[in-house]
């Protein structure tokens, strides 16, 4: 063999070549004997191809430079190693490499299921309140006292509404 395929998980020559069609999408994985055994590919009772694809698609050499999450310090190399993200903000930080990966992994790339209504409403409210507080301190700093008074009233109105307290 002139140019043998390498295993997607380690760099040994691949001897197990797997093609699976899930929901009309073709997925291909090349593995060496040892990784195939370790991942249970040879076990007819089932294994998770999506996990394999996830690991295989995470080549740190590919993609633009080394991405890093500002929020938790997680790097692309960390992701390759763990196969898990560091924090919710990582999904923004690694957006670029995520999208093609999700396309192969899921039925679609957009969430259409349940939405945490209560939590989101609370969050929006919290954001509005912080914005108002910012406006207030700005107004005071620039001596716009009429604006400041109006903003202060709005804030107290917000805080009085019983179910509209900001989250802890």
């Amino acid at each position: 063999m002139a140019n043998p395929l390498k295993c997607d998980l380690c760099d040994k020559p691949a001897t197990v070549h797997l093609t699976q069609i899930v929901s009309n999408k073709v997925h291909k994985v090349d593995l060496c004997e040892a990784c195939a055994q370790a991942k249970g590919v040879t076990d007819p009772s089932g294994f998770s191809l999506s996990d394999l694809l996830l690991k295989a698609s995470l080549n740190p050499e590919s993609g633009p430079g080394a991405m890093r999450c500002e929020s938790c310090g997680f790097t692309q190399a960390d992701f390759k190693k763990h196969g898990r993200f560091g924090c919710p903000a990582c999904y923004d930080a690694f957006k670029g490499m995520l999208e093609p990966m999700l396309d192969g992994m899921h039925k679609g790339t957009k969430h259409t299921g349940k939405i945490p209504q209560a939590a989101l409403a609370r969050q929006t409210l919290h954001e509005r309140l912080s914005k108002l507080e910012l406006d207030l301190s700005d107004a005071i700093k620039s001596e716009r006292y009429e604006d400041a008074a109006r903003t202060r009233d709005e804030i107290s109105q917000f805080k009085q509404a019983p179910d509209q307290s900001p989250p802890r």
Partner: protein, 364 residues
């Protein structure tokens, strides 16, 4: 509630057995949820993990279905206790091996369990005996909504619930059914079924999840993908896949009876004989024999009233339960002796098989 009293009480899995649970033994749904602006458990520092656990356990323990529940840190549990919870599908293997800051809250009736700081901050699980995806979803959906009233979930309008692993994004939901498929195994059709199920975007695993073997002809079938479909759509798809597997299993049973009933009766009869007389049984062999007796019950060879005994023994034959019952830790060879002794005594007065009572299709 204490761990000791929880272990001593019967679980949903064994207590609710009826002919309605003939092929689908149990339905289970889990939701992965995380707190906004907190690192995921695998990346969080010990102090952060502790703080996250405090926030989560306080909210979970206050939810209605989890009042008077067991609420315990994983590092407070003994090895055997953890193993028992794994065998009852109440915690994962991953949680049982996790570091400080992980805990679990389990409802008194053992149908609801919430793992804190497993792979995600929260892994909420509801299980029900039999084929009850809709009911299970209603219960877990309500609990999730109740938790959301006090917890800020990490959520993105486009990606849904944000999870440590991108394979759980979106709904964060894994719905699964534990199925007993002896006829498909005996007639060597399981490989074909697994392949077909995979193509429909569902996964087949062994009794204890990823990487476990399928002894006892028990399989778990669950959805593979979580993003791009609503919970209802996923459940609808899973339901139709499960129904078609049930259909195939029933057909396979009919074929086995038509083609060579003698061979099938011999298997069931021998299983009965071994249960009554053996002195060494490893857990895999015990599971396979129990599976044959269970098939016998489905076919009418044994009375339906004995089903709950068999489902209980499926659990009691597991290493953790066996050692707990014998009040000690034993090596595998000693366990095989103890397991055989336990099954011998259970089968000493077990009604004899009557092969004239066979109902041709097993669809009782």
């Amino acid at each position: 509630m204490t761990i000791a009293s929880l272990i001593a009480s019967p679980s949903e899995l064994t207590d609710a057995a009826s002919n309605k649970t003939a092929i689908v033994l149990m339905t289970r749904i889990r939701l992965a949820r995380n707190l906004a602006a907190q690192p995921f458990p695998g990346w969080a520092k010990p102090a952060q993990r502790t703080r996250i656990a405090e926030i989560c356990t306080a909210a979970v323990a206050a939810a209605t279905p989890l009042k008077r529940s067991l609420n315990v840190a994983v590092d407070q549990l003994g090895e055997l206790e953890k193993q028992i919870l794994v065998e009852r599908h109440l915690i994962s293997r991953e949680l049982s091996g996790s570091k400080q800051g992980s805990s679990v809250i389990i409802s008194k009736d053992q149908t609801v369990s919430v793992m804190v700081n497993e792979e995600d901050h929260l892994r909420i699980q509801v299980l029900r005996a039999g084929f009850q995806l809709k009911k299970t979803w209603n219960v877990i959906n309500e609990l999730d909504t109740a938790l959301e009233a006090s917890l800020d979930y990490a959520f993105s309008p486009t990606l849904g619930y944000l999870t440590a692993c991108p394979t759980n994004l979106g709904t964060g939901m894994r719905a699964s059914a534990m199925m007993h498929l002896p006829a498909l195994v005996i007639s060597s059709q399981m490989e074909k079924v697994v392949r077909a199920v995979n193509q429909l975007g569902m996964v087949v695993r062994g009794l204890f999840g990823e990487g476990s073997d399928a002894s006892g002809s028990i399989f778990q079938i669950s959805n593979q993908t979580t993003l791009g479909e609503s919970e209802e759509e996923i459940l609808k798809r899973l339901t139709s896949v499960l129904q078609s597997i049930i259909e195939h299993e029933l057909n396979a049973r009919e074929k086995l009876l038509e083609a060579d009933s003698g061979k099938l009766f011999d298997k069931i009869g021998r299983a009965y004989g071994i249960m009554q007389n053996s002195h060494l049984l490893n857990s895999s062999e015990a599971m396979n024999l129990l599976s044959l007796i269970r098939l016998g019950i489905d076919l009418g060879v044994f009375p339906d009233a004995n089903r709950s005994t068999i489902d209980r023994l499926f659990i009691e034959a597991q290493p953790g339960h066996l050692q707990h019952a014998q009040k000690g830790e034993f090596d595998p060879a000693q366990r095989d002796l103890l397991r055989a002794a336990h099954l011998r005594s259970e089968f000493a007065n077990f009604v004899r098989p009557d092969f004239t009572l066979i109902n041709s299709n097993g669809k009782n």
